[in-house]
């Protein structure tokens, strides 16, 4: 399994070629790329940052879970950090298996789960300013503790 966080360009062709082995009949891949706009606002570039060591551990965990859950043979997961221009790949996922059905399912699950649980954030730079992109709420098992606390904390302080 090739699990990587990199500061340079992602070598898409090399990652895809590397994930294949003789018993595989299918590779499904997902390529997340920097769009030229967010809700119509023109993007100049993005800046990705991560809690790097934790993100890498989370990515390893997801890859292992994908193999166990979907029965695929191999997974590659590469995320890039730093400044990315429009059109560049921020994340590349590739899944190999004998048959195609599970490669689609595992690849979709990996990108959906990665984007909710792996500690990576992006700041969007527009002509007229910059914002940290809104994230989705954490899955309840990761954030519930803090949410509950929020109510308790509020009572204490009022």
């Amino acid at each position: 399994m090739r699990i990587e966080i990199t500061d340079g360009e992602i070598a898409t062709a090399e990652v895809l070629a590397g994930v294949k082995a003789g018993s595989d009949g299918a590779v499904c891949s997902f390529d997340g790329i920097v769009r030229n706009n967010t809700r119509g606002r023109q993007t100049l570039y993005l800046f990705y940052e991560a809690y790097r060591e934790m993100a890498l551990e989370q990515m390893r965990g997801l890859a292992e879970e994908a193999v166990a859950r979907f029965g695929v043979r191999d997974v590659a997961l590469v995320h890039r950090l730093g400044r990315l221009e429009v059109g560049e790949t921020s994340v590349l996922i590739a899944v190999a298996a004998a048959h195609r059905g599970v490669t689609f399912e595992a690849c979709r699950w990996l990108i959906d789960t990665l984007k909710k649980t792996v500690p990576i954030w992006k700041k969007e730079f527009f002509v007229d300013g910059a914002v940290w992109a809104d994230g989705e709420a954490f899955p309840s098992d990761l954030s519930a503790g803090v949410r509950e606390l929020d109510v308790v904390g509020g009572e204490k302080k009022v």
């Binding site: 997340g32 706009n37 967010t38 809700r39 119509g40 990705y48 940052e49 809690y51 060591e53 934790m54 551990e57 995320h79 921020s90 994340v91 990665l114 984007k115 909710k116 649980t117 792996v118 500690p119 990576i120 954030w121 992006k122 700041k123 940290w132 992109a133 809104d134 994230g135 989705e136 709420a137 954490f138 098992d141 990761l142 954030s143 519930a144 503790g145 803090v146 949410r147 509950e148 606390l149 929020d150 308790v152 904390g153 204490k156 302080k157």
Partner: protein
């Protein structure tokens, strides 16, 4: 006891720091620590209510619930909702 606190994403901008070292009473929990930080931020006029209630916390690089008891030397990271590439309707 002393713990390291790491800030990421919007929270890093908000508290204008990447990393803090905090002295805490023995037995302090993740939840207790977040309350302290939140209170201190709001005193400095940096309150951004939404962010504090949507955080996740990692202790030594693993997600940790509010009741987790902290120990000397722990690395506590405050994680705003992940935005590696949220889907949204344009």
């Amino acid at each position: 006891m002393r713990v390291a606190v790491l800030y990421f994403g919007i929270l890093k901008d908000l508290v204008a720091a990447e990393r803090d070292a905090l002295e805490l009473p023995e037995g302090e929990t993740v939840g207790g620590l977040v309350s302290r930080l939140r209170e201190s931020a709001s005193k400095q006029g940096e309150g951004l209510a939404g962010i504090w209630s949507s955080l996740a916390v990692a202790v030594n690089r693993e997600y940790a619930p509010a009741e987790t008891v902290l120990r000397e030397g722990d690395e506590v990271a405050l994680l705003p909702p992940v935005s590696g590439g949220r889907e949204r309707a344009d």
